[in-house]
Subunit: 370 residues, 2 copies
C-alpha cells in the first residue's frame, strides 16, 4: 500500500469513528462535542501529542493545538481541520463556539474537564450555552476494537510475552527489583514499543502481597514469590500481563495457591464470550477462589478493558452488567495476597471473538520455579 | 539518626509546611483547604500512592485513601490523621465536611478538580458551602525548596549527568532511537532512581526539529543531530537535562547554531539570581538568539520549575514577573528548531543561591561530535 493509500485509509477510519460518535450525540440531542481527554482525541483524529482539543460538530471536526505541535499536527491529524492556538486551546475553541451561534447544546465529559477549564470556556464563549454530559460516548465506542486495533493489541501482547521469556532467564537471587524492571522496560523498547504501558511492577517476597507495589532497591532472594506485572505500549495501544514465579523450589502451600489462581484464570477466560456479562467473567474466576477457601484474599476486580489506555471500559467486576461483544479486549487477572506469605497473580489479555475469546498474551502460565 | 528521630523529623517537616500553608489560607479567609493534586498531597503529608485526598483545617489535617493503600498509608503518612474510605474518597471527605458546620469557606484548586468531582463533593457535603480559589497556595510554597529537597534534586540531577556519560559511549550510527531511550531509562533504575521523570526524548535527524518528538524505531545515522532530553525521579523529585550531539563531523552551520544556543544557555543562567524576575532569565537567553538572527526558531519558553513535578512553578517565560528567590530550582533550556535541518537544545537544572545560581546538572555542554 502506498503512502497516499495509507493516508486515505487513516482518514476514512477517523471519519467513520466520528460518524459513529455523531449517532450517539444525536441521542442526547447534542449540537457538538468537546473532546478534551487525549486518548479520545487520538482515537478520533490521530493526534498523539500532549496538548490537543477536538470539537466534533454535525458536519465537521476542528482540532486545536499549540505552536509546539505545528509540525506534528500536520503529520498526524486526519479527518479534522487543524487550528494552531496562539492564546490557549480553550480560548481558541471558545472563540469558534462563540461565532457559531446555532450551537446551543454542547456535550462534554464532566469527569475529564476541570472546573477552571469549564470557566475558561464559558468566558471565551461569552454567550449562554447548555452544557450536557456526553455519557462517556467516546469511551463506549472505544470499548469495541476494530480489526486494525486488535492486530496492534496482539502485537503489543506478543512483545510482553517475549520479554517475559527473557526476564525468566535474568531473574536470579541478588538482582534488585528495580534492575529487573529496568531490563524489562528496555526490552520493550528494543522490540519497537514506545515504552511500558504503566510503571512495571516487580514485587518480591512479602512485597508481592501489595497489589500495587513499585519496584524497589530490594534484592530478589531465594524462596520468594516474585510478581511481574507489566505491559508495553505499541503505536498507542497497551498490553498488560502478570506472571508470578518462585525463586527456588516452591513449597506445597505455594503450589496449591498457585493452582487455585491458575484455575480461576482459566475459568474467567472460559466464561468470556459474546452475550456474557462482565460480571459473569468476574464470578467465574471469583467462585474458583471462593471454593478453594481463598475468596477473602482476592481483593480486587477480575479485569478491565485495554486499548489506548491501560484501564478502560469495560470493567470486569462484581455487579457490572456490560454485555461482552466481539472485539472487546480485556484482561483477566485473579490473584491472592496473603500478608507475610506473599502474592500470586496471573493475568492474560483476551479479545472477545465470534464464539468465545482468544488469548493475546501467550507466555507460559504454569508455575515456574527458578 | 535512628528510625524514631527520622520519623519525628519527617513529622515536623510536614507540620511546618502545613503551617506555612495556613498563613496563606488565612489571607484568603479560608476555613479549610481540600488538597486533591497528588504531588501537593505528597508535599504536605508524605503519601506517594495514587489515591489520596488531604483536608487541611485550622488545627488539624485529615488524609483519605482507599483500602488498597491501608498498609502504605500507615508507613508513609506523617502529620495527618489517616481515614480509609470505603465508599470513595470524595464521599468520605464530603461527609466529614458535612459534620463540621463551622467550615463555611472551603478553598480548593479549580484547575485540579474536575466538574464531576466538584459535583460529587457538593452532593456529599449536602449543605451550602462557599468554594474559593486557593490561588495555587501549595504550588507557591513548593516553588521554594528547602535544603533537604535541594539535596535530593542535586542527586537526581547527578543521576542524569552520569547516565549521559554512558549514553555518549553507546550512541552510534545504526542504533534505534528507542534503543537509546531504553538504555537511558534502565541506567536511571540501575542508579536507584524510581524511573524517568517523563518519557525520554531521543530525536535524531529531521525529527530533532520537533521539540516534543517521542523516540521511534528510526535508526540514528551519520551526519545527524541527536537531541536527548531526559531526567530521573529520585524519591519523588525530578531532574531534567537536554544535550544535543552530532553524529559525525559537524558542518559549520551546525557549529554556529550550537554556539548560539550554548551562549543563550549561559546568558540565561547568568541572569538567574535572587531578585531577578523570571522574564529576565527568559529575555537574557532569548536576546542572544535574537541577536544571532535565530529568534523565530526559539519557539518555547526558556524554562520551568522542577520538583515533585517535572513542570511546576515558576515558569521562566516572557511576561512572567515572578521574583526569583534562594531555593527555587528551575531549568534553563533554549533551543532552535529548523525544519529540514534539525533541532538543538541544551538544558541545565539550576538552584537559585544567595548570590546567583548553582548548576545541578553537570554533563559537558560543548558540542560533542561522535
Amino acid at each position: 500500500m502506498g503512502d497516499r493509500d495509507k493516508a486515505l485509509n487513516e482518514r476514512s477510519r477517523y471519519l467513520a469513528r466520528q460518524d459513529r460518535l455523531r449517532r450517539l450525540l444525536h441521542r442526547i440531542s447534542a449540537d457538538a462535542l468537546l473532546v478534551s481527554h487525549l486518548p479520545n482525541v487520538r482515537y478520533l483524529c490521530g493526534f498523539s501529542g500532549s496538548a490537543g482539543l477536538l470539537l466534533i460538530q454535525a458536519d465537521d471536526a476542528t482540532f486545536f493545538t499549540d505552536t509546539r505541535y505545528t509540525i506534528q499536527a500536520k503529520n498526524e491529524i486526519s479527518g479534522a481541520t487543524v487550528r494552531i492556538a496562539k492564546k490557549g486551546l480553550l480560548n481558541a475553541a471558545g472563540e469558534l463556539l462563540r461565532a457559531r451561534r446555532s450551537l446551543r447544546r454542547l456535550a462534554y465529559s464532566p469527569a475529564q474537564v476541570t472546573v477552571a477549564q469549564k470557566q475558561a470556556l464559558d468566558s471565551a464563549i461569552a454567550r449562554k450555552v447548555r452544557w450536557i454530559d456526553d455519557l462517556s460516548s467516546v469511551e463506549k465506542l472505544r470499548a469495541t476494537k476494530d480489526q486494525g486495533e486488535v492486530s496492534i493489541l496482539r502485537e503489543a501482547a506478543a512483545i510482553v510475552s517475549k520479554t517475559f521469556e527473557r526476564t525468566r532467564r535474568i531473574l536470579h537471587p541478588g538482582i534488585a527489583e528495580l534492575d529487573v524492571a529496568g531490563e524489562i522496560e528496555r526490552d520493550f523498547k528494543r522490540q519497537g514499543a514506545e515504552g511500558p504501558s504503566f510503571d512495571t511492577i516487580v514485587a518480591s517476597g512479602e512485597r508481592s502481597a501489595w497489589p500495587h507495589a513499585h519496584p524497589s532497591a530490594k534484592k530478589v532472594a531465594t524462596n520468594e514469590l516474585v510478581v511481574l506485572d507489566h505491559g508495553a505500549i505499541l503505536r498507542g495501544y497497551c498490553s498488560d500481563m502478570t506472571r508470578t514465579v518462585f525463586v527456588g523450589k516452591a513449597p506445597r502451600r505455594v503450589k496449591s495457591l498457585y493452582r487455585a489462581v491458575q484455575d480461576a484464570l482459566e475459568a474467567g477466560k472460559a466464561a468470556a464470550k459474546p452475550g456474557a456479562k462482565s460480571q459473569d467473567v468476574d464470578a467465574a474466576a471469583r467462585n474458583v477462589l471462593r471454593r478453594a477457601g481463598l475468596g477473602r484474599y482476592f481483593t480486587h476486580s477480575t479485569g478491565h478493558g485495554i486499548g489506548l489506555e491501560i484501564h478502560e471500559a469495560p470493567r470486569i467486576g462484581k455487579g457490572d452488567e456490560t454485555v461482552l461483544v466481539e472485539g472487546m479486549v480485556v484482561t483477566v487477572e485473579p490473584g491472592v495476597y496473603i500478608e507475610g506469605l506473599g502474592g500470586i497473580r496471573i493475568e492474560d489479555d483476551i479479545v472477545i471473538t465470534a464464539r468465545g475469546a482468544e488469548e493475546l498474551t501467550t507466555a507460559p502460565r504454569n508455575l515456574i520455579e527458578l
